[in-house]
Each structure stands twice: as structure tokens, then as C-alpha cells.
Amino acid sequence: MNTVDEILDYAIDQEQQAADFYAELAGRAEKAGMKDILLDFSAEEKIHKERLLAVKAGDHELTPEQEVLDLKISDYLVEVDATENISYQDALIVAMKRERAAFELYTDMAAKVPESNLKEVLQGLAKEEAKHKLFFESEYDDRVLMDN
């Protein structure tokens, strides 16, 4: 991956994979109400993908300079398995961790690339993932950590 288009294609593919992951998990989910929640997650990932497609088409710009709040919730939570018996708390943890991993990947890649348009795109993608992480962490803060 040496060009901006290649990087964007990779990121778009990752969002599609995430959407497929949640859709597949929704198909297996056994707990009451989890199917809908996981399908909501899948739909959210498709929105992320659409946004990146718009970036590639030149209709939308990444914002590498934008500050994104990091709640650091997922950083200290244990890994959980995405089983068919997954709870809504664990589904959020899976989602937060996935976004965090993507954020770290783009951040690391950007650090290894000299100043260029490519570096800016990687930084912009990292910020996009940080925003996705914030979305799921806010959900966790509101719905799981209500009494805490």
C-alpha cells in the first residue's frame, strides 16, 4: 500500500468487513434483542464505509487536524469473545476494541510515513477511527456505566 487510493481501498474494505462481522454475529445471536443491536452496529459500519467512499470520490475531506475526545474506556477493559451468546455490554466492548485497533494501526502507519499527502490521509483515517471509538465509548458510558 503505497498510494492514497490503495490506503483508502484498504480502509473501505475494513469497514465492509466490520459490517459483515456484525451482520454475521447478528445471525447467530441468541440473547433477546441482540440481533437488532448488532444489525445497528453493522449499519453504523456501512455509514463509515460510505463516508470513506465519499472521500475517495473527492466529495468529502478527512480532517487529520481535528481533535477527537478519547474517553479511554476500552483501553482498560478485558478482551471478550464474540460468541452467539454475546451480551450488549460485550458487543460494545468488541466494537470499541475493534475501533481502537484500527485507530492504532493508522496512527502507527502514519508515524512511519514521511510528510506527504499519504501521511495526511493516514492521520485522517486515524481520526475517523477515533471518532468511531468515541461513538461506541459514549454508548458504553451511557448504557453500561449508568450507575458508575
Partner: protein, 603 residues
Amino acid sequence: MSLKDLLSPFYVWQRAFEKPYTSIRPIQERPGAAAYRGFHINISEECIGCGTCHKICQNDAIDMVRVEAYEGRSGDSGLRPRFDYGRCCWCALCVDMCPAGSLRMSNEYTWITSDPTEYHFTAGVEHTTWQENPLGYRRAEGYHLYPPKRIDMEMRPPAESVQSFDEVVLGYSESQALLEADRCIECGICVATCPAHMDVPDYIRSIRDRDYEKGLQLMYRTNPFPATCGRICTRRCESVCPVGIQGEPIAIRWLKRFIVDQIAPEDYARILADQTGGDSGRRVAIIGAGPGGLSAAYYLRRKGHAVTVFESQAMAGGMLRYGVPSYRLPDAALNKDIGYIQSLGVEIRFNTRVGRDIQFSELLDVYDAVFISTGLSLPSSMRIQGEDHPRVLSGLQVLDDVASGRAPGIGRQVAVIGGGNVAMDAARVARRLGAEVTILYRRRIADMPADAEEIHESQEEGCRIVTQAIPVEVLNTAEPGQVSLQWGEAEMVQDPKGGRPRPVLQEDRMHTDTFDSIISAIGQGGDLGFLPGNLQEQLAIEWGKFIPGEYQHTALDKVFVGGDVANRTADAISAIEDGHHAARGIDRFLNPDAAASSDQKVN
């Protein structure tokens, strides 16, 4: 005719050039005195439409009228006062009485119009020239027609209360209750806000009349748990009480308790005279003997339906018995409520868990309707490293142990994690078991979901609250009976999308403390494992809770839901109302022909 006679009519024209003897405005405007009782001013944003002005007006000069802009506001009737200046005698009693302090009088008194209907006007809503007038009559600061402060409740001092599980609040004497009841202005704003719509003004009036039997009858119309709610209700009624705007709200909860405490359980049947003799021939299964389930059971029995409650625990009450400690809700008070419901012929099958001892599908086959009110019994997990340490206990388990007479084994140094009522209860129970207690909460005290009274009392009883403290990891210690908790300080950061600030861990400000046990009380969820998968698909469930339809009905024909597992407020009074509402719905479902008159008859 002389020449003079001919010319005399023209002499009058000479007057046209003289100074007139009449004036254009015969009365020179003279301003009213600075405190004159002139036209009314109402600050509509401060007014809550309680109607006290309307009630106190001796001339019927004030009507309450609906104003669209204020409809739907919490603690606001959506009505505003309309004045009839054909009747007003300018006595200012309305201003003196207004509990919101929104009503005043300007010092303006002249109003000239050819349209007499204009003298009916809604102050503060219709445009008037005097609305912004800084002069005129105002109620003197500190002057009230009723005492603004409530009668203090006698309580055990904290040093004594932590020595036992005896009830902390001692209750009003009759003279105290009469004085407190006398402060009620009978506006009824509380009725609209109470989830069960209890007839608060009328049962408070029953105290003034010393007719406690009437008070009990009024309460049972909408709530078969008055002894319980008289002690632990979240009392949203008090939060909107207009008397609380410029003073302290009426102690509605304590007055409710007073009424119930005056009546012995053996007198209930005579006083309430519930007719349950009729047999509808219909059978209803209720899952869960908590406030929601038993409220439904009570109102269904009154309609003559046979009720069987399936309860997994050995005793009825749900979280009221196993989650609320006896120093807040003594068993005797809870048993008073439950005992009367059972006396109406409600069958409770104890130690019977649906899904284990009897299948849900069997209930659907055997019964004509099923009401699910299983509550929130599964403690949430912190999901931090080391949480499975044996010295990490759940708050619900600790409370259950104590309620069941088991020793929870918490040790001397205890950390409680959380800021809800379960956390406060666990902390105060731990104090009564002799522990030094530190409560760690990730936000500020103002953000705690626990009742402010509980937070205050936990502090009074010696619980130390550390705010903006985020648990990070549970660690082993060299001592086998102990556990360490790593936690970090948090900064509150404004959420860019709005809403309340969110805590953000400060990784350079970490601490590690050692305890004998850590009690986790960060929330709880429902256990819906008893529902077969194919049925779960058909029920609207979101984030672990049912989404009920009209009359608590679900998409499944026979199934109704309510209580904590189906509402967002998760308090006893909401569960009680859910049960009552479901009983109406089930009765309509079982008797569709009589549905039209059902609401009035079930009550």
C-alpha cells in the same frame, strides 16, 4: 326682527379664537403608588400553572386556561391564569399565595378600550403594556401564607444508626403530621407527576380530617404498596411540589407513611372492603413477586381473575426485600403490603424459577394471560482485569446475603464501586457490619444516580466518597484475604455532542489501594434467559429491556410486561404503576366486550 337678532348667531364664532374651557383629556394621568395593586403581571416561564391563585381568589376572577407553549413541561400543568377584571377586587391574595412567586401586580390602573372582552386577559401570555412594569405590589420577601419549611423528621443519629439494622427514620407523630399536612396547597401538580397518579392532595386532606381510613382507601385506588412507598419512594411528587419552589416541598412520602402506620394490618380488609368473590373463570400467571407483579396481582384479583405468581426466591417482594436494606424498609412494613395482597387469594409459588422449574411455554398453554415482571437481577460486570478475584463481590449479592440472614464476609476495609442506590445501600450495610467504607465513583456527586438523601446519609454514617475515580485493574496481594484495586483519577470533559460531561482517565494520576473486599455495584440488567429463542424474536427488546405497547401488551397475544425490566425509571412506584396498567390491559384482553368500561371498574 332687529339687526342684532340677525347677527347674534355669528357672535359665537368669536369664541373659536379664545382659549377653550374644556380639556382634551379631562383626567390627568397620575401614576399609582410604587406598591399599588394594579393590573396583574405573571412571569409565565416561572409559573407552573398550579392554579393556587384560581383556588384562593374569593371572587372567582381567575380561570386557568391551557397555553400551548407550556404544555408537556415536567411539573407544569400547561395552564396559566386568566383574569376577569369585571370581578377582580384587587385584594392581591393571589400574589400573596402564589407558590412559584411568578405572580405580581403592576402599579398601572387605567385601561381604555371599546371592547369589553379585553378585560379578560391571560397575564404574561397576552401582550400588555404593564408586563415589564418594575413597580406595583410584590409579596414581601420572606412572607408566606403557609410555613415554607417542612416539619423535620426525627431520625436516629448516624452514630446510633450504624450500630443496627433498625429503621433510621422514626416517622411523624400525629401533631407533626397535622402541621405538615396543613402546608399542602392542594394544587395537584404532584398527581400528574406521580407515575401511579396517586391522589396526593386528597389523602393529605384525610390527615387534616383525621380520617386515616379514608386516606388508606384513596391510596389503594392506585397503589397497593403504600407502607413501602411511604418509606422508600423516589417521590417525584416532591420534586415538583410548588411549595418547594420558595421553601421545602410537602413531605408527601412521610405523610403517606403516617397514614399507613395508623392502621393495623388486621383492619385492612374491613376498611378496603375489596370485592374479590366474583370468579371470572380466567387464570393469569405472573412471573416475579416484586412490586410490579404483585401490583398486577392485586388489581387482577379485584376483577375476579385467578392469579398465580411464580417467584424464584423463598419470599415475596423482589428487590424491595432482597435489595433494600431493612433500616430503610423494615420487613414489617413490606409484609403489611404483601400480606394484604396475598389475603385476597393471590397464590404465590415460591422457589419456582420459570425456565428451570416450569417452562414459559407451559404458562402460555395453561394460563389465559402472562405478565412478566422479573426485574433487574443480574449485576453488571466491570469487565476490568482481575475482576474474577474471590474478594470482588457483587453489591446485589451482599444485599441479598444480609436480607437472607447470611454473612456476606466483607471484612473490615471495603471499597464500593458505583454511585447508584445499590452502591449506597451496599456501603451503608457494610458500615453496619463494622467496615470502613470507601465509595469510588467515576463522576461527580451531582451526577450520582442514587437518591440525594441516600448519598447524604451514607456520608453522615461515615462512608468516604471518592469522586472522579475510575477502577482500572484488580490485583492480587501478598495477604490471601485481601485484594488491591488500581484506580485512576478522572477529569470531567465536555462532550462535544452536548449532554453531561464525561469522565476521562488521567493515566499519570493512578493509585493502588488494598481492601478486604471490593463490592461492585455499577448497575444491573434483566435475566431474560427463561424466554425461548423463538419467542424472544417476537418480543420488542432493546438493550436488555422489553419495549411494551399499549397497556403493557407485547406482540405476543397473551403476554404483558412491566416493572424494571420494561421501563427506564427502574423504581418501585413505576413498577407498581406498570402492574396496575397491565392489570387494566389484561382485563381488557380477557373481556374485550367490557373493555370500554374497564378503566373505571379496575381502578
